[in-house]
Symmetry: C2
């Protein structure tokens, strides 16, 4: 029932309590030996559920565990207090106890929602994550952030709740669209910029796609998870170093908000990375513009609406990560050396925004 | 603005992070120096709010802090996900930030609800408790339990979220009805049974009432809080020793549920304490029956409906604190020496229930 040790990759995330991220092709059918609880509630969505939920359930029941399936409509609109309440009521209906566990099978929405249910049900029960999108594998699987949206904004309610283990099976990526795959590729690339240059070349390899060699993908995912795990372990509750993970995200959040979320998060972050690379170069840091633009070409994000930077400014100031009016920007001194600067001039911001707008022209010529 | 050191009682609760319980007459108007945040959202209910909220707000604003008031309908019916969501939306509306704090001004309902809002808003912000009922002072102020009810049961959703400080001003008890005061007296008495015999005699003193000497009340409250704090500090997440605090509560929860909560929690616990004292005596432990019955006379709880013990059994098994079918009971070997036993015979349970039913007869003859 267990995965052969020779193919199992394992990374221990040094949070309190620490937990393993397990990566192996075939985990989907072989995860039961890594779960200690007898009763498991599997929370899935309408897209991933039909593909994989029965196999996970079978794997659990094959070793005598009890499991129940709980369906959530796929998409960000399910990250609400209403879904949260409905799932909690289902947990009571199933007779889930304090010693039972919840397993999130799906992308980031399912992980965030199911994690907050696990954090809150009877004041907290054990939680396992089985991310099925590349984005959830490399991003949401580490850090313990769970939660839902309010009408006024995203992720305004939630908890820090660490999973007991994270299961990553790269073979589930085969059913992911290239568009969704690229959403994860962006965060993976960001992790490369922050701490591991080898990732930056690997994401441009020909076999970096949903149907690529699972062994190659597993190894790349492991390196990316390691970057995030190392940063988060230094700063569990997001006071300080963890802010580095926001590289490219300050502009991205503004683009998403200003477009009323018509731009996807991943696409917005690519633009944010180009923006940050120009800001860094203007400051005299290493100029990584060409490298980031090459990656922008790989992602081929949707065109940006033409906007003056002044139109974005109110959305930048509103970002909830900022405790005061002073604006912090994550910039790279060079690959692997992020820093935070707060004395950026409006002129540099405008120039960097021009660089982003020029991407379109460059690519259409 | 600070309370004179000579009248301030302080107990540090050794949880992670540790926090102080501050007890002094006059704290209501002098709490600002113990709060470090600049912005405070005060959550209050329709009973306590009109009496005390303006004074707390004035104390905060007197030192230049910003505060907002948030009203909740008094009573258990407000402990819902709907109130939780409404308060969260108000927090966003007020522009409350991660570095702001929430202050719960009220009894147990407000503490539980506001605590869960604090635990969840932006994944957790700082939280202060200002309990205004004797029950909330001696019980809810320590342990970090927060949460709301679901239609299927009480406290099924929530978080462990420790306050940054707890403020107890015994002078606010003056506006508490004797009936409400006795609800707290029951938990105070229970703490005496568990670890501090001096409490058992003090609760029978003539000046133990809402308008009693604040210095006497402050000292008694401190000793009671200390009992709970010592137990909770040994067992933060309720695995083990903390179960001692359930002395009298297993029967009490069944009585409350079976009566559809027509019996108050405090009254149910007094009956539960009589029940547990008989169970202990039948087992050959110290017989504290007379002492507990004397306290029962002081409380004068509403008469119990005549019930066969068999009718209560399903409600005892349903108690969420029980992880398996095996029933655990907290019993006293003697005052100050609680233990947990699981091999209680149905015969002893029946006999102890008869003892409870006899209370009515004894008091009417």
């Amino acid at each position: 029932m267990a995965i052969k040790q020779s193919v199992l990759r394992r990374l221990d995330v040094a949070l309190t309590p620490s937990y393993p991220v397990l990566i192996a092709e075939g985990l989907l059918d072989n995860l039961a030996s890594y779960i200690s609880e007898k009763r498991i509630a599997i929370i899935k969505d309408t897209v991933v559920g039909p593909l994989y939920a029965a196999r996970v359930k079978k794997a659990l029941e094959g070793v005598g565990k009890e499991s129940s399936l709980h369906l959530v409509q796929a998409g960000e609109d399910s990250k609400t207090l209403a879904s949260f309440g409905a799932l909690l009521a289902e947990m009571v209906g199933e007779g889930l106890e304090r010693k039972s566990a919840i397993l999130a099978l799906g992308g980031g929405v399912i992980g965030d929602l199911a994690g907050f249910v696990a954090a809150s049900y009877m004041r907290g029960i054990n939680f396992y994550q089985f991310p099925t999108s590349l984005l959830a594998m490399v991003d949401a699987s580490v850090g313990g952030k769970t939660g839902v949206n309010l009408a006024q904004g995203k992720n305004l309610v939630g908890a820090f709740w660490q999973p007991k283990a994270v299961f990553i099976d790269p073979s589930v990526l085969r059913t992911l669209s290239l568009k969704e795959f690229k959403q994860g590729a962006v965060e993976l690339f960001k992790h490369g910029l922050l701490a591991d240059g080898s990732i930056l070349t690997d994401v441009l390899r020909d076999d970096f796609h949903p149907q690529g060699d699972p062994d190659f993908l597993a190894d790349l995912i492991l390196r990316s998870v390691k970057v995030k795990a190392d940063i988060v372990a230094q700063d569990e509750r997001e006071g300080n170093v963890r802010a580095f993970l926001n590289l490219g995200h300050t502009l991205a959040h503004a683009l998403e908000a200003e477009s009323n979320h018509h731009i996807s998060h991943g696409e917005a972050v690519v633009y944010g990375l180009v923006f940050a690379s120009k800001l860094a170069a203007l400051r005299g840091f290493s100029d990584e513009g060409e490298r980031v633009k090459t990656f922008w070409h790989y992602v081929k994000p949707a065109a940006l609406p033409q906007r003056d930077f002044q139109q974005l400014l109110p959305y930048i100031a509103r970002d909830k990560k900022h405790h005061s009016s002073k604006q912090n920007w994550v910039l790279l001194k060079t690959i692997g050396q992020p820093c935070i600067v707060s004395d950026v001039s409006l002129e540099h911001l405008e120039l960097s925004w021009q660089e982003v707008l020029k991407l379109e022209e460059d690519s259409s010529t």
